[in-house]
Amino acid sequence: MPRLNSQLIRVLSEYGMVLMLLLLGLFFSLMTLTEQQPTGEVGGQQVASAILAQHSPEASIWVVTRDLPSDQAFAKTLTRSLEAAGYDRIHPVVGLPRNARAALVQWQDQGAKIDAIAGTEVTSSWLVFADLETSFPEVGSPRIHRPTPYRWPNFLKRDNLLNITNQIAVIAIIAIGMTTVIISGGIDLSVGSLIAFSAVLACLLIREVGGALDATAIGMTLACLGALWASAAIGGITGGLITFFGVPPFIVTLGMMLMASGAAYLLSGGESVYQVPDRFVWLGRGTTLGGFPNAVLLMILLYFLAHFMMGRTRWGRYLYAVGGNAEAARLSGVPVKRIQLSAYVLSGALAGLGGVIMASQLKSGAPTYGQMYELYVIAAVVVGGTSLSGGEGKILGTLIGAFIIAVIQNGMNLMNIEPYTQKVILGLVILLAVLLDKLKQRGLGRH
């Protein structure tokens, strides 16, 4: 029995957070299970196969759609597959119910027959088609085809999942830096304010130096790099105060948090800086590969890099050693101060990057950005299994931690839970995660 128990504890400790994420996903999937209508290409394909099965190629077929992108994708797919099968009497009807009525009047006058009417969920249920036999007896009694509805959770829809990753990108990217700081035995409370500072600075640089609305791509890149560099420099000052003067990290970063926030307000005059070109949103909202937002791609890239750095470089190993026992690490030849300093510089730089991404997502920089973000970031790191006492933790755990937080928020939004309740639940989940971690440690300690 105790052996089984310790096995269970081992499995939970290795995969507990992944399991929790999956369970949360399952839970929200069940809770948001609703009737979905196939649209676009999928719907077109479905209706096409129904027609192929029930009508001969000589049949005259109407394809009724609205003038919307998804309806046009539906019509295009449907028409193409029917034509490929030799159907040549296909008649498109595009627009509103009155366009359909006009077409019917015209066909009735010509004495033409219709064998089938294919439409989307909306067009096929237009009233005009409901009483065909009484209003337009001359066109025959066409069969009406529409996509069959199916049940699928709103949570698992592609757009929603992409939305979650996009929402979490900023927090997850900053959490990389926070993980290194916490593993090295410190804490960084200034990241939330650095978001605002960096967002304001980047937008200001574009407005004042880069040419405002006419800024070039190079100009914008340089402005963003400038903001990033400034944030890294602030991280460097923080780290310097901590390592060379021995001031506790909590105090130093608390001071920096206030200063960076104040600086953001001073720089922007307390207002939002929005004089940036439309193309500025490329980083935050643009997509390149397979519809993935650029911010998400950047996040994935950074996690790969960080995972590699933590596990396969001397710097990573030193980071753990410094957090585990700084004196023992120093006496083993680890440059303790340099390692600690590097963690704060990284944290500052990534917070700056987070600010740039947020500015790009919202197409402006305001000093109100990033409030409370330091807490969400720390929560993601801790939920991901990194010990606040330093020396232990995994970077991929942090990514999972960030996703757990994002999934909970997103799921609760989908379930229409009000924001106040959401906060309470989120807090509970964080406590629960840390409690689980403690239980796990105790279990391992007794082995």
Partner: protein, 494 residues
């Protein structure tokens, strides 16, 4: 016949894969000092943790004064009159001696602590123990020996009947040990039963009435102290006859390799100059606080020196950090393994690799294979017993921790190795292996510096002895074989 104060019968404790204790019996009479001996990992600590309520036995019975008891928690052990005194004291540094003695059992009157009464009671208790210091002194300003007496006073105040002392002498100087023994005699007079865990045979013969030996979790022997010999005890612990305590070696000192001139740091190290030859084991002797560890830290770059130069093979070294020292081929095995030598919660392999990572780089990346291969080689060479590379260093026994530290420095191939109290808290068998290793390294022409407070060890191992007192070198003994403990002590207190 009255039943003994404490009886433990047929105690069994199993961990996954290990039988930590097998049918162990222990009897302790009131007013008796029972020495509990055995190699590291023999089960001494496990047995005492069961007595102290930190672990539950899988089988067996414990009786106190004839009554069967169930010790489920440390609190319960305390209420049964069992007090444990560990090497690391459980004192609150900022509180006074009196406050520590009464911590958790304050003398209250209408919920208000009666400081005066506590102070008086503490003074009396301390005086009974032969100690005389102000009970208002914060514990952080007390000497180690004084702190220990506070711990014992605390136990007496709890009206403990059974006192477990876990290697109490390891942290004390020779004089303080004598005072500790006086305290133990006082406690014996008061009718306490005491279990004394220790590795130093001389002390066992001084203080104990009976000796019980554990080996591999089983009872290996129990002797009245006047009926056993040094050799007999060692044999009983190791399980085979041991020819000698120190391995024999023919020293062949070479040229001077390490040369330090005028090393100073504040008042702890003052103008120390020394020369060490390759192939030589040079011992630094002296009382605790004489500046030996501090000198070692200067030679390793761990502390900043105010003055002085250090040369290795004629090359001056700047030595501003341990990293520089390691790069120059100097290694330091610290006296405190748990706080300075190892990162206890990290795996044995990570600890092993820490100073050696540059050897495992392949195109700038760490190669897990290279690290594992090196780890296996040295762990086998040092015969470190562990369940696997991932076993946290903190889970190893003291001797194995020390061997792991040695393995990690061996892999570094240092030219100068400084051993600070390398055998403290280590059993006889492992000590012998450590001595052999030092010999091998010296024979390879390396410089070996050893700091030790155990004079027999200094005389038995070193080729030359330097003695320190209050931060200065006070003497040199060039032929340890013809010298004596008295000769060293005279220099150490000069």
């Amino acid at each position: 016949m009255a039943s003994p104060l404490l009886e433990m019968r047929g105690i069994d404790k199993r961990y996954p894969g290990v039988d930590a204790l097998k049918q162990v019996d222990l009897t302790l009479e009131a007013g008796e000092v029972l020495a509990l001996m055995g190699e590291n990992g023999a089960g001494k600590s496990t047995l005492m943790k069961i007595l102290g309520g930190a672990h539950r036995p899988d089988d067996g019975e414990i009786r106190i004064a004839g009554k069967t008891v169930n010790i489920a928690s440390p609190q319960q052990a305390r209420s049964l009159g069992i007090a444990m005194i560990y090497q690391e004291f459980n004192l609150v540094p900022g509180l006074s001696a009196a406050e520590n003695v009464f911590l958790g059992q304050e003398i209250l009157k209408h919920s208000v602590i009666q400081h005066v009464a506590q102070r008086e009671r503490t003074t009396i208790l301390l005086r009974e123990l032969g100690m005389d210091f102000d009970p208002d002194t914060p514990c952080q300003r007390l000497t180690i020996a004084q702190q220990q007496s506070v711990e014992i006073a605390r136990a007496l105040c709890l009206e403990a009947r059974i006192l477990v002392l876990d290697e109490p002498s390891a942290v004390l100087t020779t004089r303080e040990v004598e005072r500790l023994f006086a305290i133990i005699k006082q406690c014996r007079k008061r009718g306490l039963g005491m279990i004394y865990i220790g590795h130093r045979l001389d002390e066992i013969f001084q203080v104990a009435d009976r000796v019980m030996v554990l080996r591999d979790g089983a009872h290996a022997g129990c002797f009245a102290i006047d009926q056993c010999t040094r050799e007999g005890l060692i044999e009983c612990m190791v399980g085979r006859p041991l020819d000698q305590e120190f391995p024999k070696r023919e020293p062949r000192p070479g040229a001077v390799r390490l040369k330090a001139t005028g090393l100073s740091r504040g008042t702890v190290v003052q103008g120390v100059s020394l020369k060490a030859r390759g192939g030589e084991i040079l011992a630094l002797a002296g009382l605790m606080g004489a500046g030996r560890t501090e000198l070692a830290r200067l030679l390793f770059g761990a502390d900043r020196r105010d003055a002085g130069t250090i040369e290795l093979d004629g090359q001056p070294l700047s030595l501003n950090s341990p990293a520089e020292a390691i790069a120059s081929g100097i290694g330091l095995l610290t006296e405190d393994r748990k706080l300075q030598g190892l990162i206890l919660q990290h795996s044995s392999r990570d600890n092993f690799g820490l100073p050696n990572l540059d050897q495992y780089l392949r195109k700038g990346m760490l190669s897990g294979q290279a690290e594992q291969a090196s780890f296996e080689t040295y762990v086998q060479a040092m015969r470190v017993k562990l369940t696997g590379p991932q076993q946290p260093a903190g889970h190893l026994s003291g001797g194995n921790q020390q061997k792991l530290v040695m393995a990690k420095w061996l892999a570094r191939h240092c030219e100068v190795l400084i051993f600070d109290e390398p055998t403290r808290g280590i059993d006889v068998g492992a000590k012998y292996e450590i001595y052999q290793l030092m010999h091998t390294l010296a024979d390879e022409g390396k410089v070996i510096l050893m700091i030790s407070s155990e004079l027999p060890e200094v005389l038995g191992i070193a080729d030359r002895i330097l003695v320190m007192h209050e931060g200065r070198l006070t003497g040199e003994i060039t032929h340890p074989a013809e010298s004596s403990q008295q000769a060293i002590m005279e220099l150490a207190v000069a």
